[in-house]
Amino acid sequence: MKTIAGSNNRILEINLSHQQFKETPIDPRDRELFMGGKGLGLKLLYDRLTPGVDPLGEHNMIALCTGVLMATGAPCSGRFEAVTKSPLTGIMATASCGGPFGMALKTSGWDGLVITGKAAAPTYLVIDSQGVQFKPADAIWGQDTEAAQEKLLQEGKGALVIGQAGENLVRFANIRSGHRYLGRGGMGAVLGAKQLKGIVAKGGEVRIVPVHKERFTKINKRLGRSINQNAVTSGSFRSYGTNANVHLSNAAGILPVRNFTGGSHGEAHKVSGETMAAQFKTTWETCKPCIIKCGHKGTINGQMRPIPEYETIGLLGPNLEIFDPVVISEWNELCGKYGMDTITLGGTLAWAMEATEKGLIDTDLKFGSPQGVSEMIERIALGQGIGKDLAMGSRWASRKYGGEDFAMHVKGLELPAYDPRGAVGQGLAYATANRGGCHLSAYVLALEAFFGMADPYSVRWKPYMVKFFEDVYAAVNCLHICHFTAFAVELEPPLIKLTPNFVVKILNQIVSPLALNLLDLSFWPELWHAVLGKHYTPYISMIKFRKAGERVHVLERYMNTREGISRKDDTLPQRLLTEGRRCDSEQHTVPLAPMLEKYYKIRGFDADGIPTPRTLKRLGIPVK
Amino acid sequence: MHIERYPELKPGRKWIKRFYLSIMLWTVGKAIPVAAKVDKEIKKELDKLPDNFTLRLMILPERALGPFFYAKMLPAFVADKGLLPYGMQMIIHKDKEGKLHYQGADPRGKKFDLSMAFKSLEAAMMVFTFRESTPTGYAHDRFVVEGYLPYATAFMRVLDIVEVYLLPKPIARLAVKRYPKWSEMSPLRKHLNRLIIYVRAFTF
């Protein structure tokens, strides 16, 4: 087996129309500036993709990129990133996944794939260190993700596969790898439009080792210790999965209830992680390698099934006023099989329920009633009846049928399960997140609503916090390592750990930039430098790391502005701007406008939200 | 929806404008009967009105203004003397002998043969600050006339002449369509009559 120190540094470019492929080395400058994973994927598309192409057309591309940590054995590093132009939002979509495909791709000797063109007939790809084989997929076309994946895995160690939803161009279809998904933005439909049922990577052909092995091992251990100490990563997430958040959100009044009208609900405990863990006797089922272990499975109705994540619970549960964990996990599994994003599905179903209630569409969906939901999921996946309209997402459906004011999406991407009226900073984060309504762009709400480290209703310094975390998380997605390591990396260093949370809150209120700049993020850059064998300078490297994140974030923004995004799109659903939650006696709304103004200023965008040439130049993004 | 977010709003009051207008109405009201005695033309116009005729110029239907607290204590027969300014109306009565009386601002127990009502306080301000002349005010629908229109036109002609007497020329020019020419009203007569009207109107 070939051993590679550092990274493969080569990309496989595949054209489905002509059944050709070529190998492209990664420009060292791109590696320096855009790191890998998300950043690299965006840069590849930035160089190749013409703005204004049809997301479901031949000319759209999808890039699948791993980071330098992949296959090095760093904790929680088994993640890879997909980048494409989304058919749901019409702008760039990025998604991260912890399935086995990433590892297999990297150990096949590639750092990434760029796929373009459109196959004439259903196809799947088999990738090894030599290149790619195009194979007819007629046999598995029309099968669900589980069955198809099983077939594909006979040819390699990791596979990507779409279900019927992707084949039927459901705009929020996802791509499955193992038990994990490239969830958001409708990547499945992009593959479906290209008639690409799946991709298999053979894997196990090369071995990746860090250049500075000893330093790497040392950091690795320290990070592992931090993760094992942290209350979130080693406590609630490890014991209950992400739906440990149900309790926290419900208490903070940011749980979406009845299509984002409630804020909290008395029955929410029925679907909390704690209840489910007890009820279904859960065990772990996670990405590799992982030591947080947020993924769980359990025995539900006598069958071993994955336990839904918090977002799935939130949006298919309380947001539809359903508090039965069994039906939610059934729907979750159904979505998995068809290959659909549960967040967008939940948001769209909630919209459909409210639209039905208000006489805009005619379905048998009703808040609080599980009746008809499974059927509707099937109709959406297979494009039958009104399901065909709902398969376009809530933005499209609400433009057709009305009810745009309660279609809970930003830029076409449905909101995840945190109500920003109880955490206004998160409201700004939703509005400015590049791919649309996304909590992973900047998870400010944890500080605001969970840890009590920032005032959830104050707008002061929130733009700064949002920018800070956007930069950090963009960089994390370039490494690429799990987001949840952030709890350990950010909160475990002694300075912040020893300061009581209410003091942090006061500091954040008065001198947030100072407080944030004192935050020690050194684990991440240290890992990066150890793998690539570069010299690590304390603090400076951390600043550079954040700047790389900023570069990636601004690049994505810039690419989006070329697709028509501007200030008008950086907004929130009308409901969040004008109505209070039922649980909130003071009827808070999100005061978006003043925060946005400030945010643009510190980001270096003009008043219309477009990155200025100066900003692009400062970050080293070539202007096109 | 929290209904308290959208409170009910009772209309407020513009006190200074009300005060100004009540003084204006009082002045004009006191001046007209006197002017009718002095000026032939006014007399001629008013002769067209039938006897035992009551007309009013109304800005707001309320009969007394808050600051003029005394007004509410006065019995009707005193209030009808119109000795003091206190309301948003001007009532003029022509008695059986054809003599005119200013009757203050109290509409209680009176029946009006002609009523000219301004549509709003601001509309009255437009006319009484002479940003719009009386005919323009009429054309702009600033006030509505209830009763027989020809009497109103006659009364508006009277108002025009009284304004010429009461106001200095630069202001009066704004208030009337055509300031009287020499042939119509000689300066000597004008100044003399103006003096008489001012003295007699405000010396009780």
Binding site: V53, L360, G403, K568 | Y6, L9
Partner: protein, 385 residues
């Protein structure tokens, strides 16, 4: 001047415009036997303090404002309509005042419908149920950007349109304090809609002298006041004049129906989420060029409205139609100083043009085919006249 063999005309709303027009509101309400209006307005107008001027207009009157319902953003939907209708009932209101334009007025019409007919949804009306009786009085006080539907019997709520004579607003009260614009962009967007409507009225196939008479001042005011208004959006006179033009053009369009521009721009706005005014502003010059090439006879009236009697008379008679089109195109170009010059500059995704052209042609874009629509869109995309 030709009188067509038959035509139908209605200018339903009363227009009150000018100095102190706001203070006429109590009288207008009184004329409709109403004492307690519900005011519907947008968040932006409430923030800019316009509602304060409105409240002051009711000082010294007998009118109590039932409530000021002000959470409207740029979308009229059934949720807010229901809330406002509930407020209407709770406070015992008997009239509606819509302060604003576009979605505010649409919402006010919907609230009126829900409150007067005592319903919870608009579903029956979408299905074609006629509106039973006269609704409560609705007074519109235009302010901010318009969508051209205010003075028509149509309302677009939840992206669906209901048309009924009962939905006509009774009165438009235009006051300089309310109509001056906050920024040039809004103003240009509204002006683009006004221009398109007036242009359609004056170039439509079956001319009616009354529609001409209605569109004439709209276009004339636009030609005269657009430049000063764009130079200084806060200019009260110009703002009032443009608001007048907008109401007149909107009322004219109620008699003509949508033309090429409106259909095309509406399809484009639907597909891209860009506001109608911007779409129209970009499309107008290219559409006018297409009309010019299409050799459809244009009547002299267009030239008369834009050039005024003096310049019109000085022109040679055969030149007038062409000069009219040129002047209209010049007016449209004036807008482009503020609005983006092309769909490309607006970052409209090229692949959307095809479906937009098809949708527009299906809806009957003034008799233009999908290919012609696509040609206009493509030229507008490249800014290539």
């Amino acid at each position: 001047m030709q009188i067509p063999d038959s035509y139908e005309f209605l200018l339903y709303p009363k227009i009150v415009s000018g100095r102190c027009a706001l203070e006429n509101l109590p009288t207008e309400l009184d004329g409709h036997n109403a004492q307690k209006p519900l005011v519907i307005t947008s968040q932006a107008l409430a923030r800019s303090g316009r509602t304060k001027a409105l409240i002051k207009a009711f000082y010294d009157s007998a009118v109590v404002i039932g409530a000021i319902f002000d959470p409207v953003l740029d979308y009229a939907g059934i949720s807010q309509a229901r809330q406002a209708a509930r407020l209407f009932g709770n406070r015992g209101c008997d009239a509606i005042i819509a302060l604003g334009g576009g979605p505010v007025v649409a919402l006010a019409k919907a609230v009126n419908l829900l409150a007067s007919e005592k319903r919870e949804t608009l579903q029956p009306y979408y299905d074609g149920t006629p509106i039973a009786g006269p609704l409560k009085p609705l007074i519109v006080v235009p302010s901010g950007p318009t969508d051209g539907q205010e003075a028509t019997p149509a309302m677009t709520v939840d992206n669906r349109t209901i048309v009924s004579d009962s939905l006509y607003p009774g009165v438009f009260v235009l006051d300089g304090r309310m109509t001056s614009a906050d920024d040039g962009r809004d103003l240009a967007e509204s002006a683009a809609i006004t221009l398109a409507q007036a242009f359609t009225a004056l170039t439509m196939a079956r001319p009616s002298p009354m529609v001409d008479a209605l569109a004439h001042p709209a276009l004339a005011l636009l030609a005269q006041y657009l430049a000063p208004a764009l130079r200084r959006p806060a200019d009260k006179t110009a703002g009032l004049a443009l608001a007048n033009a907008a109401v007149m053009a909107s009322a004219a369009s109620a008699n003509t129906g949508p033309g090429l521009f409106q259909v095309l721009a509406a399809a484009l706005a639907d597909a891209t989420g860009i506001c109608l005014g911007t779409c129209l502003g970009i499309l107008l010059p290219f559409g006018m060029a297409a009309l010019q090439k299409a050799d459809q006879p244009v009547r002299d009236e267009l030239c008369l409205c834009l050039a005024g009697t003096e310049r019109y008379s000085a022109m040679a008679a055969p030149d007038r139609p062409v000069r009219g089109l040129e002047l209209a195109a010049a007016l449209a170009r004036e807008l482009q100083a503020v609005l983006p010059a092309s769909l490309k500059a607006m970052r409209v995704q090229h692949y959307l043009l095809e479906p937009v052209a098809r949708t527009a042609a299906e809806k009957g874009a003034g008799g233009f085919t999908a290919d012609e629509c696509r040609a206009i869109l493509t030229r507008a995309w490249e800014a290539n006249a």
